[in-house]
Symmetry: D2
Subunit: 380 residues, 4 copies
């Protein structure tokens, strides 16, 4: 495997959950070494946090500009090789752009940017930079999602004929019905969160997942979004009809007012020969439905799985693996790309996926605002 | 309970599954006695079948016209009180109309008619006849569906804010991809099956269920149907956006090309306080999701259930009950209505439900054909 | 199918659940006609009940002795052909014996008798009578249980190597901890309920099921029973180690103090090639576990099932069927036996099963009382 | 949190799964820093592995003796504080003993020793050493297991009255039926694996879990083990009747010939007020069964959970967490103990648990060999 990759992190300090997730994921396959970053707007806090983590404070910086300046002075063998961006959404674009322009590999939390235009600019920047760029659509790292993708690609379900994805949560329910709360939550403030709440936050996961597992690009969409209150400016629920290449139809359903739901994210792909189903709350089961045959339940770690699925499984069959492992798999893929080792394009989501997600959000809002009409997505 | 109700049946002879289902359901609560009917276009076959069933052949007739003529000659205490219509769909309307015009109570399989116009005529006929008319949307007889309806009505989930129903089957998959088969299957022939295949057959179940459990009327819909082949004239899949009274939004998804699915019929209703979920393939579990509380799993027969749910449960908790019982519950409700005993409006679907279902089908096709636009449903 | 079989019933009047279950089951396949019986110790009540059921009162009698006397006077074509015994357990033996001695076919609720000695006498009586005798171990009528039996018999799981059955209920929990209640419940009174409560009531179901699906006879057992209170004379929980022919080992676990459990009855059979699992609370799923293969989930009604399983399924795949259907299947098998039509020995439990169950109960208590030692069961 | 704890590891080099598990777990909560150890019998290999891991090779040693010698020369602030023992079972005892005698904290894989006598010696050694000693019964780190333990302790289910644990695997099936394989597998060789295969490997997990969640000590056992072949010297399946303090009865079932099972580990505890159930293959669901109430499904991360459960959850509700997280929780608890921070005794298994497990194995074999008789366990 060779030397560990030197990793810097922007954001993710203190009790940040996303910080924990990325640090553990990076540790999971012995490929990364956290060397510094800028965890907090206050340098003191960043240094305190580095001490807590038990890492040297030599590469802890006040902000990204100083980070870039100082890192570029370091010899290559000390310099950060990849930087993870875990800051609030509105900072993603400018940070990613600067990092790319200065030759860093980047791992960026989703949403990649706040507008589709920014996403397109970033794509151009990356072309020049020619480094590795990953967007952490975490769910694509699950072993059984990878297996699902492989089976569709291998023709195990025949020609795809129907796609259905659901991402139902209920977390915004206690907020949305309280006038005070719904006007003060940053997630419902377009200045802070961009054009969309529900589609932007979880609809994009469903969108990315559909493209990932089905191997089909969504070509046009018709959206009906839901705001519940007139003074609420952000969608908190929506159903989006989709049409993919090859005349495949489908539907994406996303909600944050599905009261009591946690992360009820499901994907169903039906083909001419068989169907495949997966649910995030039980991520180790992949269901294969064949005409007139007993349903089959595939689980991680068995030799009947594809190589990319098995690569994402650390333990023998029967031990559940969770979201940490999924993120860990994505970090592993990025490590391979950085080290120029062979890897499968399915190992981590790229800037293309990030940009398509941004396009999806904007087009969904556009379809809704135009009165629930069909809107075409850009070809990437 | 008093004397059993004298039941006649049209159709359902030989090995007909729907015949078995209605006979068993009628026997289930000791309220009906099958006395005759017209089971088959050939009188000989009907008589042979009556013998097989071990019933007298005195009230077995060549066809409905003769049945009505002869029955009206019989003294009231011998005459059939209710007639179940289990014949092919295109016969439902004329048979139901004649029966109503001659004062019979009617139990009619779904779809009630082949067009919405017929359904509206039938509503008028019933007004004059003033007898009992039930449409067998079987699923509404499940104890936990009744419980779900009661809980929504009682405000247990608060104001309804999101509705989602899915009815996914895969049975047409082996047919649709074979040019010969898809052109010769009666279900895909508009002359024989009316305007719609998938929406007409199962979409209506989802539609009726949503109105049944949510207590909300669907006001307008936007449909995107799916035909897969240009020479196929009938929808075999579709997604329908719905808007209900009180600004509630939702979605109905129906498919017959969800390969490998059997009767994957699910209903999810989310309210301001909680959500409720049910799936037909495990009909004895009703899931209650409350913000920040452990999910609760309600089962039939417990004293925490409502009266109408308990009334639909014959055995102590823990014994699964199936589709036979569900239909049996509907027959029980009809018996009460015929005998003018008190009953809950939720005990059986009426002509209103039947008519709304027909309207739904036609409007869904209209929405699709007009280019996926919103179409309003009639107020019943 | 020919004329319906004339059925008499002893007990099961009023609201009796077991009465409902047997009547519906007998109606389910159009093979039986209920003609009379003795539903209640009081003739008046029996006649009132017959009126409620809508049947003639000509063959309703004060008690079994009069029933036999009067029925024997009737011409063969009017006489009851089979009598179902649904009375309290302590009456089963004497009633069954008289019925057999007078040439009737018998369907007897479980437990067949109150002692093993009675069971052995009944076996002798049946040999002389040469009629049909069924014990209603209802669960053996489930389509997927029949499928499980066939698969084991066909060698689909290879040589059986491990057997595990659980029947956990919690219903006695609210009784057992109340001194007053536990001393006054008939089920805990050995005079009324025989030697055992938990083993007798549900342990026998597990025992019968194991022999039914595995095709193996239990040869010896070691029991540890549980009474919880010193003043409680009846077992309300127990674990029983078993050894079957061919050196197969296993375990039966039964409890009525598994608080909150309803009828959590599960069967697991593991063989050299594969394992099979089934749970009564989801009776339409049969799980096939093969080394290194995806788990398969078999469901009723598919052509991959065996003939005897398909024979027990009335509806197309995907419609859940419940305990009523299971009992209905047993009645169907008995009808075939009475009419001397071909049938599979697995279609209904016979007196042999009934007698083995009684032996099992007595030996279980004996093993426990002797200090948890191995006790051999009789060869049937 | 302060400085990270310096961790050394014995064994776990190369592709060792247990090595991955411990390294990730130690990284998961930012409390440990891997500083060295002896990963492999060959120093070259250990150094190569350290390079792969990206750690310094200064504290990588040929064997444990040299490790101890050299580490003791180091200043306290550089010296390893805790050593994890991941070597083959037969080495655990001697290594643990030496480490304790030299003042190290120890994390030891299970089984802690190969005999009960060794375990008792180790207990004495620890008393002198007065350091922290954890045995990694990994499953006790699951958030919902911790919640289960708390609920039992808090009296949420009332007085415990029935205990049932199952650990069914099928992995030895392909080996046991092959004479060549079963004679050459180290796991079936008593010289290498100690007195027991199935009870030692997984029965102990069930045993430890029962004591952990129920808060009851097992007092005596009666075992029936299973060898299948006469030339097989090690149990590969067994059922063990248990009697706990307070007259609580129960059963432990363990099997490695449950063909097709992966890690089907379940625990059911029933009390006077309610029952609790958990299954390892879906570790985020804890089922609460109360008399006459809907079943409740508790999940991690909700505020209704206890502090110790919440402490073991890193992410918001709805994200599955797996075995890595479970082990991570155990490492976190050990870190607190080492740093003398407050911690709950339920946070990691101690030498007492390790010793009781060894006693359990030996007594189980003894009970079986004496002819399935009751054998008492030592009071710890």
């Amino acid at each position: 495997m060779g030397k560990k990759i030197r990793l810097g992190i922007l954001g993710g300090g203190g009790d940040s959950l996303i910080g924990v997730l990325h640090r553990v994921a990076s540790a999971m396959h012995d490929r990364y070494e956290l060397v510094g970053g800028s965890f907090n707007p206050l340098l003191d806090e960043s240094i305190k946090f580095a001490n807590q983590l038990g890492i040297s404070t030599d590469q802890v910086y006040t902000n990204l500009d100083i980070l870039i300046e100082e890192e570029l002075k370091l010899p290559k063998e000390k310099r950060m090789e990849v930087v993870s961006i875990l800051t609030p959404n509105f900072l993603h674009f400018s940070m990613a752009k600067k990092l790319l322009e200065n030759g860093f590999n980047v791992i960026c939390e989703k949403p990649m940017t706040t507008t589709y235009d920014e996403a397109k600019i970033l794509k151009e920047t990356l072309k020049m930079a020619n480094t590795v760029f990953a967007v952490t659509y975490t769910y694509t790292g699950y072993p059984m999602i990878r297996q699902m993708r492989e089976m569709v690609a291998n023709g195990d379900i025949g020609k795809v004929q129907k796609i259905d994805a659901q991402y139902y949560q209920g977390w915004i329910n206690p907020i949305i019905h309280d006038k005070e709360k719904r006007s003060s939550t940053w997630r419902l403030d377009p200045e802070k969160s961009g054009i969309s709440c529900c589609v932007g936050d979880i609809g994009t996961h469903a969108f990315d997942m559909i493209e990932y597992v089905s191997g089909h690009r969504v070509e046009s969409i018709l959206a009906d979004l839901n705001y519940l209150y007139e003074d609420n400016r952000m969608d908190i629920d929506g159903t989006i009809l989709i049409r993919c290449e090859n005349q495949v139809k489908g539907v994406i359903r996303a909600s944050q007012i599905a009261t009591g739901e946690e992360n009820n994210f499901t994907v169903q792909i039906y083909g001419q020969k068989a169907g495949l189903k997966w649910a995030q709350e039980n991520p180790n089961h992949l269901y294969l439905l064949e005409d007139g045959q007993p349903m089959k339940v595939l689980k991680p770690g068995h030799s009947y799985n594809s190589d990319i699925s098995l690569d994402g499984t650390k333990l023998p069959p029967g031990h559940p693996e969770g979201i940490f492992d999924s993120m860990g798999n994505i970090y592993k893929g990025v490590a391979r790309a950085i080290r120029k080792e062979p890897y499968d394009p399915g190992e981590f989501p790229t800037i293309i996926d990030g940009a398509r997600g941004m396009g999806f959000i904007e087009k969904a809002v556009e379809s809704h605002q135009k009165g629930n009409v069909w809107v075409e997505l850009d070809k990437d």
